[in-house]
């Protein structure tokens, strides 16, 4: 069975060439969408990986997907918001955190709070100047480079007067650091730095990195 074309032969050729060109343009456009760096943050920009770093400026991923948390004399408000962040953020990823029965070398995350003024030489929060609200340090590492124990410090000077949105966002931010998340430029994640009314969760690219690495 044959079909007669309404187009003359030369026009059919041009038509096929036009279709082929459109296909190539479509392929290029698709490639741009898939590989465009603007829409897909690199893993390195989102996630620290295992880098062996310790200290005041270290963001280094944890060692286990079953991290144990020790609450070091936390105020009830910091403790309850830490519980919230673990339950509704951390434990919705492939990480399953729990509370430790004692503080020892196998504790993965030490949660601490206080009216900090000088830890790591930062200008900690006060009502006039603002300042550092919280800090996550990696204190010891395994030979593999994974962080063995993190300490998260929350400024009670800030936290006691923080709104629920601020409190949840801050815990989300610091626990993100404890699992290797870096600062983000997007306001769609709690990992954005220095935001008054932060997002309450990690974004999908951050969650993907967490799930791919734990």
């Amino acid at each position: 069975m044959t079909h007669s074309s309404p187009l003359p032969t030369r026009r059919r050729v041009l038509h096929r060439r036009a279709l082929a060109m459109l296909s190539i343009v479509a392929a290029v456009a698709a490639a741009l969408v898939v590989f465009a760096p603007v829409t897909t943050p690199s893993a390195e920009a989102v996630f620290s990986g295992s880098n062996g770093k310790t200290g005041c400026s270290a963001v280094n991923m944890g060692h286990t997907r079953y991290p144990k948390f020790w609450y070091s004399g936390l105020t009830s408000r910091v403790a309850s918001h830490t519980d919230y962040a673990r339950t509704y953020i951390v434990n919705t990823s492939d990480i399953s955190s729990s509370k430790d029965s004692s503080l020892d070398a196998n504790t993965n995350v030490v949660m601490a709070d206080g009216a900090y003024t000088s830890t790591c030489g930062f200008d900690w929060y006060n009502e006039v100047d603002g300042g550092t609200l919280a800090l996550t340090t990696c204190d010891t590492v395994y030979s593999s480079g994974d962080c063995r124990q993190h300490t998260v410090r929350i400024s009670t000077t800030y936290f006691d007067g923080a709104t629920t949105t601020q409190a949840r966002g801050l815990l989300c931010h610091e626990l993100g650091h404890a699992f290797g998340l870096m600062h983000a430029s997007s306001s769609g994640t709690c990992m954005k730095y220095g935001v008054t009314n932060p997002a309450q969760d990690w974004d999908s690219s951050e969650m993907s990195q967490i799930n791919a690495n734990y």
């Binding site: 898939v34 920009a45 030489g121 204190d139 931010h173 220095g194 008054t196």
Partner: protein
């Protein structure tokens, strides 16, 4: 077959584009890794750091400044450099308006001295003081001596100003010392003296030591610590001349709410 050839063409073009764009992404990644490890990024193309581009020693110190806030969250009151000038004051409630910074110094680093070192186990605040070179230090404090060419606020008229900086305990002390010595001309926003137990006359630097900026030969300013927020923070005060001119303008008093809770901070 025609269809197969067309598909192959699509894949080939797609792969070519992918390869090209992957190269571009890799370049970005390398820059970001550079910032994390040893090389400044956001200021890497600024005039200030270009002057020091061949100086790996200075770059080590610049990277230390740039990495300071990696694991923190911050609610600093100031949103722009202008907020830190002596003629810009803030009033919380009915309290007296206060300037956020005690001064600003512009000058050349002429020396670096050791200060002290600290550990802070178990989430404590200041922790224990250690010998400066103790390998267990969580952070160390060093002192830069700056030969002043312009100054505002408390340090106005001083020929030299000594400023303290905290550096990470894992930083190489010798490289950091050499790096800060080779920074050349800097601009530093100062908090008052009295922060450092080892010498109460040493000034501390605003934002936990972060607001030490570089001054290029053309007078332009950049703060490595601020990364991609540098331009937003400077907000038009891009040169030393801009800063000094703004500081002689009319007084500005801002009424504010509790820091960190003000909607204007977003």
């Amino acid at each position: 077959m025609a269809s197969s050839r067309l598909s192959a063409t699509k894949i080939g073009v797609g792969a070519l584009i992918a390869l090209t764009l992957s190269t571009a992404v890799a370049t970005v990644i390398n820059l970001q890794e550079g910032r994390a490890e040893s090389v400044p990024t956001a200021v890497a193309t600024s005039p200030a750091s270009t002057d020091r581009g061949a100086n790996e020693t200075a770059e080590y110190a610049i990277a230390l400044l740039g990495d300071r806030t990696a694991g923190t969250d911050n609610g600093a009151r100031e949103k722009t450099f202008a907020d830190l000038l002596p003629n810009h004051t803030f009033q919380v409630g009915s309290a007296e308006p206060v300037a956020l910074a005690s001064g600003i110094v512009i000058g050349t680093v002429t020396g670096v001295e050791p200060g002290s070192a600290y550990s802070a186990d178990g989430g404590s605040d200041a922790g224990s003081e250690l010998d400066f070179a103790d390998p267990d230090a969580l952070w160390r404090e060093i002192v830069l001596t700056v030969s002043v060419d312009s100054a505002l606020g408390e340090v106005s008229g001083d020929a030299t100003v000594r400023i303290g900086l905290a550096i990470d305990g894992t930083a190489d002390i010798d490289k950091a010392t050499a790096g800060f010595e080779s920074l050349g001309r800097i601009i530093a926003v100062l908090d008052g003296p009295g922060e450092f137990a080892f010498d109460p006359e040493v000034y501390s630097v605003r934002q936990g030591g972060g607001l030490v900026g570089l001054v290029a030969e053309d007078g332009s300013i950049s703060f490595p610590y601020l990364g991609e927020k540098n331009a937003e923070f400077l907000d038009g005060l891009d040169t030393v001349t801009d800063v000094l001119t703004e500081a002689t303008g009319p007084d500005v008093i801002s009424k504010v709410e509790r820091a960190g809770a003000s909607p204007s901070q977003d």
